[in-house]
Amino acid sequence: MTSAETIAEICYLAAAPCFILALRWMSQPETARRSVAAGVTGMLLAVGGTLLHPEIVTYKWIAIAAIAGIALGIPLARVPLTAVPERTGLSQAFGGFAAGLVGTAKYYLWLGEGQLTSFRMAVIALEVILGCLTATGGLMAAGKLAEKITTRPVTYAGQNIVSFVLLAVAAGLGGWLVIDPTQSWAFPIIIALALIFGVLLILPIGGADMPTVISFLNSYAGLSAVAMGFVLENKLLIAAGALDGASGFVLSLIMCKAMNRSVTNVLFGAFGSVQTSARVADQRTVKSATATDAAELLTNADSVVIIPGYGMAVAQAQHRVRDLYDQLTKRGVDVKFAVHPVAGRMPGHMNVLLAEADIPYDRLVEMDDINPEMPQVSVALVIGANDVVNPAARTDEKSPIYGMPIIDADKSHTVLAIKRSMNPGFAGIDNELYYANNTLMLFGDAKQVIGDVVKAVTGEGGH
């Protein structure tokens, strides 16, 4: 080992605990800002160490590619926070893409040099399959999240069988190459099959399951980095990839639990397509209220729980919500925000959007903590949330969301629900809550409605 290689290894060694600290400091918002500094330090050490490698004969292509990457990376970091889920999907696609490319390059390099051992071939096949399916899967997820591709599940007969035959053929060809690495015609076929499999994997998954899917893809992106670590015999890649894979895995489990669904059900169940005859045809009436009514209710309340959903983000209503929060708090009303784990389109999405509107994070309460308090709450204000407050999850065994833990908005004294129209939400399921006796509907665009309520509130107490 040359001295340059030793220095590189020491840099890698120092980078690993940086990544661990970065994740560790995410345990609470007070320490979280250090996370980025630790992560960046780890990355600088890793890149710095790598640049010393004696195998590198030219920096030209590295520099050009890195500058192009920085040029694209900076605008991608400035997207509106409602678009963070799409950005995450895209980022996973890029991670998978990088793994696939490195695997492909290594295959042809070692094939040319006659150094393709069975171990190397096996891990390359793994890396390329994981990388390519993450690449197309991430792109598909980003497309669905941006609503460039239909958010409804796309299904056809024998879908799961077709997908798995594809994957099995890709893995089989990989196995053959392990036995005989010179059958190089099979390699592009493996790539193509894995790319197609990534598309087919996401196609049948409905919009409501996107928070889970985006977590799964996170896990795959991490595992493809692990596979790359095996190919390149690099411990840091293995360790950092494993941390990423573990993170995606834990988040997927949390999401599945929050929807009372199993992992296999999310991936192969085509949720949301089951818009069965569950809809009863009777014309039930809903009670609607005006902004003035709502303002009166809210200002006279002891406690208000605001339950935001993705609808709030779409309407860009979070800043108006902050105004309402300020006005009510000033009048001595106790205002809290109840955030369901799957509200929004990725894990934790609502919290970020509310934080963006300067709502203090100690006012954001998790579902399990708020539910025991709900019967004492004067007003539950539902803004653009739907399935996460649907009592059918507790009562209607036929409902596709039966068994999913919900925020018990219906148990509060009065429910105010802001909704554009009576159309069912993202998951396409009718909501009993809107027909309940203690529910008042406020129809209209969330931003407009809350603006009107704020005006009514300040008009009342402004003099």
């Binding site: 890149v47 490698h53 890029f94 990725m346 934080a355």
Partner: protein, 98 residues
């Protein structure tokens, strides 16, 4: 440096179990920034890409390597920047403005 399969698996095992344990403790408030942070950390793939692009062994591997450097640098830069941007937004209750 040579790395044998068992050592590699050992590193993987330790990191994966450590990861499972640490991630479980992450505040639910921060799951979105956590995801962008792990995206950024997984851009560690840049390490492998740099060597392939820099060896300049032949045209194919140089092009593939450079593309991989591009993709992972994009992740690295945008991942850390957006994580920092989001984390800056999380504030405690401030003293009431008058």
């Amino acid at each position: 440096m040579k790395l044998d399969l068992l050592t590699a698996l050992f590193v993987f095992m330790l990191a994966a179990f450590l990861g499972l344990d640490i991630i479980r403790r992450v505040s639910r408030l921060l799951h979105t920034p956590l995801m962008s942070l792990t995206n950024a950390i997984s851009s560690i793939a840049v390490v492998g890409a740099i060597i392939i692009a820099g060896e300049a062994h032949d045209t194919l591997s140089t092009v593939l390597g450079a593309l991989a450097v591009f993709a992972s640098t994009t992740n690295l830069v945008s991942g850390y920047l957006i994580t920092d941007r989001m984390l800056r937004m999380f504030k405690r209750r401030e003293a009431p403005k008058s």
